[in-house]
Every structure is written in structure tokens, then in C-alpha cells.
Symmetry: C2
Subunit: 325 residues, 2 copies
């Protein structure tokens, strides 16, 4: 009896390591059955959307965490680690075009966690919370084995009209904010959640579908466009992607497509919009760069992305972004 | 630089092990500063309460988790481990007299977690969710070091009038549902969240203040009554408390007062109510036992509880419940 109750097993084919994160999440949906509603009301978008009143207000809920050794290490100050915890969740609210409101924080800590470190971690949370007008309304602290520091943050936001994924059609344009790739060189903790941009894109009805890039564009973009393929003409390569490609020997495009943790917005605009008017209005309001990276093609055969690299020609892109397991 | 960024330290006096959970939570409130509102809107009650509309509806938010080795082990089936995760949070909603609505689940897992174990864990969550009409609307899965399985659940509920702690006055009566002590013998995973009882006590306005007993009555009761002391006349000792006292050699009262994880409701009724009418109505609706355990005394000098044990006389009780760190 007791052996079968252990969560762990050394036969890889029987463990979660045998499947992709996407497949694991599908399995979880199946196991939950009736109690798991269809996206966006259930699992499958950046936030869960709930109709909470008769005033067309929607509650957005998301949860994301950081773990020592996984999302930060000794190269990251405790304040930046706390900042990252809040910022990751803010990015999920931004990607639905919502306004963040309140958070609860759950900590799992070894006994040996330093108080002064923890103070700076919370100050990092608080600083970003204040900046984005979020209140931390509750939480939990619990004991974990030696060497473990894990923090979950559950963030609630509001929206009159949450922007979902998969409202995309052939001919639509795909845009990204900021620049992509090499976030490990610093941006993974220091990125600015695109709350203002997401709200504006939603309220002005420029964007018809949106998400944030957390696992790399190569993995995330197919979630935005659903059954269609995309033809990527250009990518806003970050300085970090160029820098990293010197070390890694990889094409900077690969860094921009596959490195995780950019936390930029990727969104679709309808083929009918006036793109130059859109760009002009954007530039009047935001300093954040914006790039039209791709056009949505037809329903894809077996590939998700075509890279259109000018003189280098077209290539079908098959690599994927960051896989969690 | 890198050394100072490590969360861990072997000088105990500099770590979280140097303070009680209560003091640690106070520190966290201080560190959060302005972004942490006053209870019940912020940290300090079973749930955080948010006014979300103009219709006097309040959103309740709570987060609680389970960890392998801490909240369950090989003596617990995966289904019961999942059930416990949901049930702990349901108990927090019950303790505010609210109705549970929707949950998100965050998992931190070693690669070696068995799929079949995980399936049963989620089925345990789903079964209880269905029973209490909760939807699981989202979540997150992330990698953790070998040997780690940690799950957080953030639960939202609703209430027209959330029942808070600390609305208690001298002369009020204190009641508990069910029986207390020895939950480690099984109840810690199998307890029934007192949602129906909590809702009824709130809607019928019998209870003026309520919480659940998660860390043991000795630790939790002072949070309910605030500055007053209580005189405890009787305790509903569970069979498990009596059984455990044979092994431990401790007084069964000590098990009932100090063992954690009873997840019963403890609540105060006003000194003016008709207690026999209250009991009669309760028994018409619920099979759940109920016991009037104590009366609220004056503002306490330096002790929180007096035990009034008939022939054995009165004693001041100074022991505390379960401490997390």
C-alpha cells in the first residue's frame, strides 16, 4: 500500500517527464472532467475569465510562481526575485488587456531562509505592486525541505472585455512589443509588464487577440493563431539575443524565437485596419517599440511557422520554445 | 555579491526559524507596507474580502497548499492528498460563511512524479470540487527539485456578508462543530469542510464571528476572541484524541486543544441569543455535532484561556497549537 502512494518513480516512461507540458495540461483537463470549464472560462488562456456581475465586468485570475534554482539563482538579488514573481503574473493580466487589482502570495520555505533576504524579496513584490496599483491581500507561509524556496502568486484583475487567444483569421497581422531573445542576460527579472500597452490595445479595439511571450515566440505564437500558420518577415532582435548568439554560436533568430521569458505582448490586428494610423497612434503614446512581425496564413498543413528571411530565402521552422519538463 | 543573494543561511538567529509563524506574518505585513490593506481586506483573516460591485457582493480569496512529506506521506492515497488540498481551502471559505466558486491550482513537481499518481491526485480534487460546486478554472505546472511535490490552490468564494474574526464581546458563547483532536489518525485528509454549516450560521445571523480550527483550538481561539480570555467548560473530544492519548500519555484535552488540522468551525454567538432555540434549529438541519465549549471573559491579563474542568478545578492554559516553523 505505502509504496503505491509515493508520488515518485524511477521509470521515466511512467512519469511526467515522458510528456510535453502541453500534453500534461491536456491530461489535467481530462482528469478534472466536469469541474474544468472550457477556455477562457477554464484552463487554456493566460488568465481564467469569470463573469462576476450583471455589469459586464469580468474577473481575471492567474497564478504563476518562482522557485530558487529554477527561476532565479545567486546572480539575482532577492528584490529582483520578488519583483519577478509579481511581474510574471502582471504580464498574464496584460496579455488579456486587463487591469491588475489584488494578489495573494503562498510561500514554501526551508527553515534556513534568511529574514533579511525574505524582507528584500517582499520589498521587491511591494515596489512593483505599488507601481501597478495592486494590493497584496493575503497569503500563506509553509515549511519546505532544506534548499527549497518556492513562491506562488495568484493575481486577480478586471476587464470589461478580456482579449482572448484564437480570434485570428488569415490575412491578419501579428505584432510584438519590445524586442526578443536572450532574456537570461537580465531581462527575465527586469522586464516591464506591458499593462498600459495591453489595456490600450484592448480599449481602443486595435488588437483582436493577444497573449504574452513567456515560453518563446516559437512555442507561444501557435497558441495565438490556432490552426493557421504564420509567415514571419522580421523579428525585433534584442541586443541580448545578438550578444548571446556570439557565445552560443546559434543564429540570433533562434534566440529570439526559442528563448523563454521575454514577457512581451504578441497580438493580432484585423486585416482591415489602417496599420499606419495604428502605428502613428501607438508612437504618440508609448515609447515601447512595436514591430509587425508576421502575417497569418491559411490553415497549416503540418508546420506552424515559415520564416521569410529575404536573401536567405524561406524556411519552415520546426523548433519549439522552452519546455518545462 | 552572489553569496548575499542566497536565500539560505546556517545561523539560525538570522533565519525564519528564529520567529513564530504569527510574528513572521506580522513582518511580512510590515515589509509589504502600503500595498497590504488592513484585515479583512488584507492579511489576517481566513480569506481576504473584496467589495467587487455595487450589489453588496463580496469576493473571498484564500490560498493554501499541500506538500509531500509535510501534509501527506505514503500512508495517504493520492486521491486523498488531492482531496485535502481542496478541502483545506473550502474550510477557509466556510469559516467566513461564504459559498465557494472557483479555484486555480499551481503544482511544483520533480520530474519523477508518476502520471498515474498525479491522475488520482487530480481526481481527488475534482471529486470534492464537484460535491461543493467549485470549478477549477486555471493553474500552472512547474519543475521542482527531486523529491518535491508541492501544490497550491487559490480558491475564490462569494458572500453577501462575510463573517470576520474579532467581533466578540464578554459574555458571548463559543461553539465548535464536530469533535477535536488526533486528526493525524485520519481526519486530516478525510474531514468534511463545513460549508453548509458556515453558510447557515451566517445567513441566519446566529454567528457573529467565525473561523476554522486549522492549527489547534489553543492557537486559533485567541485569533477569534482578540483581547478577551475564554473560560472553556467542555471540549468535544474525538475518538482519535482518546486513542492517541493512550499512545502519547498526554491528556486527551491537550490533543483536542493542540493537535492541528481539525478543520472544524469555531464561532461566537451573542450573549443575547436564545441558545436552546439555536440548538434546536441546528439539530433539525444538521447531523454535525455542535458543542458550546466556552464563554468569553474580560480582557485578558497575560493568559488567553482558562480550563474549567469540574472536579479537577480551574487551570490557566498556556500551551500553544501547531507552529509552522
Amino acid at each position: 500500500m505505502s509504496q503505491t502512494n509515493s508520488p515518485f518513480c524511477d521509470r521515466t516512461e511512467e512519469t511526467i517527464a515522458s510528456m510535453s507540458e502541453t500534453r500534461l495540461i491536456q491530461s489535467i483537463q481530462e482528469w478534472l472532467g466536469n469541474v474544468c470549464p472550457v477556455s477562457p472560462h477554464g484552463i487554456g488562456d493566460d488568465c481564467a475569465v469569470t463573469d462576476i456581475s450583471n455589469e459586464s465586468k469580468y474577473l481575471l485570475t492567474t497564478v504563476d510562481g518562482v522557485a530558487w534554482g529554477e527561476h532565479f539563482d545567486t546572480s539575482v538579488t532577492p528584490g529582483l526575485a520578488g519583483r519577478k514573481l509579481m511581474a510574471r503574473n502582471l504580464s498574464d493580466i496584460a496579455s488579456m488587456g486587463g487591469k491588475p487589482r489584488r494578489a495573494v502570495v503562498s510561500l514554501w520555505m526551508a527553515k534556513s531562509v534568511r529574514l533579511d533576504w525574505l524582507r528584500q524579496f517582499y520589498e521587491g513584490i511591494a515596489k512593483l505592486a505599488e507601481e501597478f496599483e495592486v494590493q497584496v491581500v493575503g497569503g500563506d507561509v509553509a515549511r519546505a525541505p532544506e534548499g527549497v524556496f518556492i513562491a506562488d502568486l495568484c493575481l486577480q484583475g478586471m476587464s470589461d472585455r478580456p482579449l482572448e487567444r484564437k480570434q485570428v483569421q488569415p490575412g491578419d497581422s501579428i505584432w510584438v512589443t519590445g524586442s526578443l531573445g536572450g532574456s537570461i542576460l537580465g531581462k527575465h527579472t527586469a522586464f516591464i509588464p506591458r499593462i498600459a500597452e495591453g489595456l490600450w490595445l484592448n480599449e481602443q479595439k486595435w488588437a483582436k487577440s493577444m497573449m504574452d511571450i513567456s515560453d518563446g515566440l516559437a512555442k507561444d505564437l501557435p497558441s495565438l493563431v490556432g490552426k493557421y500558420h504564420t509567415v514571419i518577415d522580421q523579428l525585433p532582435l534584442s541586443d541580448a539575443a545578438l550578444e548571446l548568439s556570439k557565445e552560443s554560436g546559434k543564429d540570433p533568430w533562434e534566440h529570439a524565437l526559442c528563448d523563454g521569458e521575454d514577457y512581451e505582448l504578441v497580438f493580432a490586428t484585423d486585416r482591415e485596419i489602417d496599420e499606419s494610423k495604428f502605428l502613428q497612434e501607438w508612437k504618440e503614446i508609448f515609447e515601447t517599440p512595436i514591430t509587425r512581425i508576421a502575417q497569418v496564413g491559411d490553415a497549416r498543413p503540418e508546420f506552424a511557422m515559415v520564416l521569410n528571411r529575404g536573401a536567405a530565402g524561406q524556411q519552415v521552422f520546426e523548433k519549439r520554445g522552452y519546455e518545462h519538463f
